[in-house]
Symmetry: D2
Subunit: 435 residues, 4 copies
Amino acid sequence: MADAVRARLAELRRDLHRHPEPGWCEFRTTARLVEELRAIGVDELAVGADAYDPADRMAVPSDDRLDEWYERALDSGTDPDLLEPLRGGTTGCVAVLDRGEGPTVGLRVDIDGLFIEESDDAAHDPAAEGFRSETGETMHACGHDTHMTWGLATLEAVKDSDFSGRLVVFFQPAEEVSGGGAPMAKSEYAAGIDYFFAVHVGLDHPTGEVVAGIEKPLAMCHIDAEIEGTTAHAGKAPEAGANAIHALGTAIESVYGIPRHSDGMTRVNVGRVEGGTASNVIADEVEAVAEARGETTELMEYAKSELRRRFEKAAELHDCEATVDVVSESPRADSDPELVEAVADAAEGVRGVDRVVPTADFGASEDATFLMERVQRDGGLACYSIVGTDHPTSHHTATFDVDERSLETGVEVLTRSILSVAGVESAPELAGENR
Amino acid sequence: MADAVRARLAELRRDLHRHPEPGWCEFRTTARLVEELRAIGVDELAVGADAYDPADRMAVPSDDRLDEWYERALDSGTDPDLLEPLRGGTTGCVAVLDRGEGPTVGLRVDIDGLFIEESDDAAHDPAAEGFRSETGETMHACGHDTHMTWGLATLEAVKDSDFSGRLVVFFQPAEEVSGGGAPMAKSEYAAGIDYFFAVHVGLDHPTGEVVAGIEKPLAMCHIDAEIEGTTAHAGKAPEAGANAIHALGTAIESVYGIPRHSDGMTRVNVGRVEGGTASNVIADEVEAVAEARGETTELMEYAKSELRRRFEKAAELHDCEATVDVVSESPRADSDPELVEAVADAAEGVRGVDRVVPTADFGASEDATFLMERVQRDGGLACYSIVGTDHPTSHHTATFDVDERSLETGVEVLTRSILSVAGVESAPELAGENR
Amino acid sequence: MADAVRARLAELRRDLHRHPEPGWCEFRTTARLVEELRAIGVDELAVGADAYDPADRMAVPSDDRLDEWYERALDSGTDPDLLEPLRGGTTGCVAVLDRGEGPTVGLRVDIDGLFIEESDDAAHDPAAEGFRSETGETMHACGHDTHMTWGLATLEAVKDSDFSGRLVVFFQPAEEVSGGGAPMAKSEYAAGIDYFFAVHVGLDHPTGEVVAGIEKPLAMCHIDAEIEGTTAHAGKAPEAGANAIHALGTAIESVYGIPRHSDGMTRVNVGRVEGGTASNVIADEVEAVAEARGETTELMEYAKSELRRRFEKAAELHDCEATVDVVSESPRADSDPELVEAVADAAEGVRGVDRVVPTADFGASEDATFLMERVQRDGGLACYSIVGTDHPTSHHTATFDVDERSLETGVEVLTRSILSVAGVESAPELAGENR
Amino acid sequence: MADAVRARLAELRRDLHRHPEPGWCEFRTTARLVEELRAIGVDELAVGADAYDPADRMAVPSDDRLDEWYERALDSGTDPDLLEPLRGGTTGCVAVLDRGEGPTVGLRVDIDGLFIEESDDAAHDPAAEGFRSETGETMHACGHDTHMTWGLATLEAVKDSDFSGRLVVFFQPAEEVSGGGAPMAKSEYAAGIDYFFAVHVGLDHPTGEVVAGIEKPLAMCHIDAEIEGTTAHAGKAPEAGANAIHALGTAIESVYGIPRHSDGMTRVNVGRVEGGTASNVIADEVEAVAEARGETTELMEYAKSELRRRFEKAAELHDCEATVDVVSESPRADSDPELVEAVADAAEGVRGVDRVVPTADFGASEDATFLMERVQRDGGLACYSIVGTDHPTSHHTATFDVDERSLETGVEVLTRSILSVAGVESAPELAGENR
């Protein structure tokens, strides 16, 4: 890869890094992607509601938050015409290359940031190099800036190759809240895919290491629970209340006591609670945010239904009422061995890759599994790969960063994998004359 | 009482009603009181830190809140010279009449408002008559505007009478959070009081009814509890966390299970909880606001120490640590029968009073009990009276209001009671020639 | 009272003390009472099912236990003809004196013992004097042996007096389990009573003290709860069970968290639990024994219904089912002041009585309240008195004992009270010439 | 195998089946084994305390139970001289063949019964055929009668073969309570074993199926927990008690809430609870029986230490004290692949074996793992096999039974496996001329 290309990758990633936006609020981000895709030149470009059915979105934030980030994008000088179709949170896009006969290949990258205030420590490269987040409250602390860069550059590389067939690249919003995988998976663009690739940077794998295909991503669901009771004066009439905080206490105890399942691993957590007003008032409303996971989709469903039941019954026990909403969820889906092998083979030849791990347990959850499951159900093959990077601190921390050498590596691994399944030898310009 | 006087009482009360301020933020309120007291002319006027030791204050809010309300007071056009000594939350004042030989008589009224947004319903008199709260978020929803009016007018009436002795009127901040009674009770102004009166409007007693002396106010304490644990990823390493939300659940269950006590009534409540960040994160910090009450100070202490112990042990059970702070508290103190009788006698002769109830259970808590206890410990007599008022809805609701006929009644009951213990016949001008 | 009479009282009490029988198993006890009553000579003697409707009995033990104690009574040489009508647990009797015109007066004494193994310590009088319980497992540890003696001797004394009217003496079974008060109260013998007396020995009042009429016995109910779930192997299929022990844990936590009530005192307790089989088996059945009390019958009903609800809901939360049976209960009933005064007056004149307390709080529960309530509902007056005794250790302990001087005192207080309401001056022979 | 031999196996198994004895009470059983071993003729026979250090025993029952079963054995006509060395619960034995040069091979069978009353249904073969348990309360409901038969017959077959080396057969007591594995594993007889075999019948594998080597037995521990508090009258002084039942409720809730572990599967269960006396008494003592398991010994240790901590802290929360005793435990140990292969090969040639499964997950726990772990630590190989049998109902049920065709199969599989590792071709007489 030419130094110029390499520099462009870094520049693009750094621009995206400076403007992290939360799930379904990726207004400036999507506009930037559209600009890039137009510059590259694709055969089809579906933005927002043209890419998926907005009704399928999960975990959509409040109108207030959507409006606030839309305004921010406008204020930052983004082209209003590019923003208009995204209003109301229909962010993300799908880009398609149609190159004659051949297989349909899918590639998915995610585009949202996190509510983490980025470190301004001089030891933190983005701070030192001047591309720290400009929002003050959000950060690309999981590497989605890198993922987007990969997506664009891979698309361009495939376009410039002898690829024959159809390449569909999903720029998916709202991965962090498991909100965007489902609508993408239900869209027409997910139909008929023969080979599907998803990819993540880092995840504790160092620069130079590639995991060809991960296994056992956990099925997961996010839940919002609300308990409503009846308020009363805690001193004058304690018996007159239906105590929502007391019900919450019972629910918490009960949720963590959901029995282990003999079919495999499950997880439950209540991660945030808030409710009540003052010490002398019996609370009539509390909210809790919880999740359930499982080694399989069935195990997640078991944990989810028990979680719901326990919130409801705990509320009843205190004469309260619980409303449990599933905000978002993602199934389990595993990488197909044939495709894992193809990626492993492709990665072996890439400059900078010094170790290819065939497969590893994922341990966490990912809503790319919606797309993987769709592809597999339709008879295609799917694979979720990791391109390692030296990251100074964990994902989701204020000092997370990627080693930019991974930008080039990722593009090459993905491009070669795509060309490989399409039966094309890797184009020499990709690998560079100096490999 | 002349119509003019009566109109002035209403006008004063309405002005105070328009500007409700929360505990220790009664900046504009105190300034207004000082103006009024200067106009009346008192022999001694101690404001803020001159009235009590600021270190004795309880339940003082954050500097941010103090600053915010101080700015509001400045912005509303209050005289900066009057505000200056109150900066930092040293609100309230004590006014003294020194009129030669005779007993020292104390009178305490409270001055703070509540965080309730006042109704703008046309059926709500303050809204219809144009004296609804102007702050947008606070309200005199407990009648302290009336109490202050009583305090000022009674002071003036006593001044204009043949009263001989010393009258000390406490304009006490932060009653709603049980924060101001203790510093007032520890001050030099609380020393040597022979007869002490405290008073409340309404409390479900109608216009025309007076309760001479209440019994059994509950001893109470407010508590802030914080539980600190260790965060971890709920999916990847559930065993690595020390789950503060789980500990909170155990604490809630446990606190409500504090055994009843054979010596009498106790109360416990957890009234507000908040903590954690997201569904997939094991929470490392939660906060809870709780209270304990008891029919006696000892019973409150029992409930308080159990509450503390259970928060601490529940935290330990989950490998977390709990910090329990007593934000404020108030003891139990009962009205002395001799003084109750004096008030009952005084009230009997007052125009508009059609029913005098000697005594009634209070059922709630009040930090006037600090002053009552101090006076009684020093050998004086104390009494807490209620002057009834028709109030359309309960105290602490957005449509609470008082019947302004109670303004006059309260002033007369208090003035006559004070004069009575000082051995003075009620001055005819108080009762008005047209009674 | 003659020494001979006094000795006979002691002898009778000691014989009863040697043969304590549990509730509804008072076979030998009832037979002995019938023998004594026949010897005294009464106008009517209703035994077992003739005294009340057996269907009204509460807390009847298992057939096995009934049979076992029936056999014991037979084996101890009790007359089989006397035992026959008691078979199946229809114990106790009602004796009536019909002496012409006059009021109907009721007296109730209880007859059952407790499952406590009596001390054989030499310092324990019944052991030293040779009248320790012969059963090995039960004991008159509450003084019902004394109560029966009082009942018989008072009946005899009234018979020998100028009493005119009707005297109904209830020898009530199963007081300790609140099982016998209800059937007695529903019987025809409880009808038309003008004055009703119940009495207890001791209760921390010393020899020489008489409490004329107690107040505030607590309304109470005993409850048996059973939780049924589904068993499963705890290691192989934890999710397959419906865990009755886990449900019990939730129920226990929940029951103690029943809110205090603003109308007054309540109590709840889970006093015994048992269930499950082995550590590796998810329990499918547990039993709990619980109670609820209240300062009033309404408060007890509140606590009882909450207790029931919480057992049921806690079971549901764990997919189990709870069955909650009210085994027995007793209402609150207070002594009528007029009758209290009559007892106080009667007691004042009795030899050995050096202190008459008009009234005292009872603090515990008693199913004599069923009879008191019945009498009061029908327009009569009721009174529950205490005749003090020096008791070395608490009621319900293995070394409980009564001071036998109280035997005579109790008989005189009761006789004089009965004669008093019947308008008869105390007969001189009762008091004895040597008073 | 000759019909006569086959008949003798069935006769032996049925005799053992008639006399099931619980862990450490296998008095008659051990005596019978000793008789058989003497008849076979072994080179070394260590009984009870000669076979292991009695101090290493776990889960030893009370002296009362030991005495009771010792008396039963005496009463059943067992030779007192054989019983004498077993007095006090030193049951079980180790038999050794010393046959010149060659490897040391170990075989372990377990010998205890269960507290299950055997079915007397005519459809239950042992009942129909007259060899139902004669004890009235215990049963060989797990197949240890078969295991012992295998142990004896295999020993005899090896003795009669060309085997060269040392064969050590462990007749281990108290497997059901994980009590006998540890002392056997610590004994001198467990030293220097090159190849170690353990075996189980059935476990849902049908007649004709052999599992060569099981994997993933769960590490496990049994726990006895006792919570001590302070009793008080639940009505008169609820605050005076330290409520052991309330503490139990908190402990139960807490134990089931032990966090899942990311390293693998854990299990916890509270399987039995008992405590308290009566509904009106605050319980001062409860007992619970619990267990913890883990996919690895480390995971079991995690669950065990959390279980202990939570009992202790829950007790503290209620001012009680918990004592947690580990009654017994067993580690995880897996079959060595080389030995699994040897068993699989040996089984392939056995008459009646129609399916050899190389390996299967065990799912449950076994204290043979102590011996396996010892052998493996010392450099030997270990294998735990299953010989299938059609069993009408599950292990540990009153109608469990084995298909006696498995008797012969088991002996042949074990003998061939032992001879195989000793380098001997299977002796033809073992397989029988009519295979």
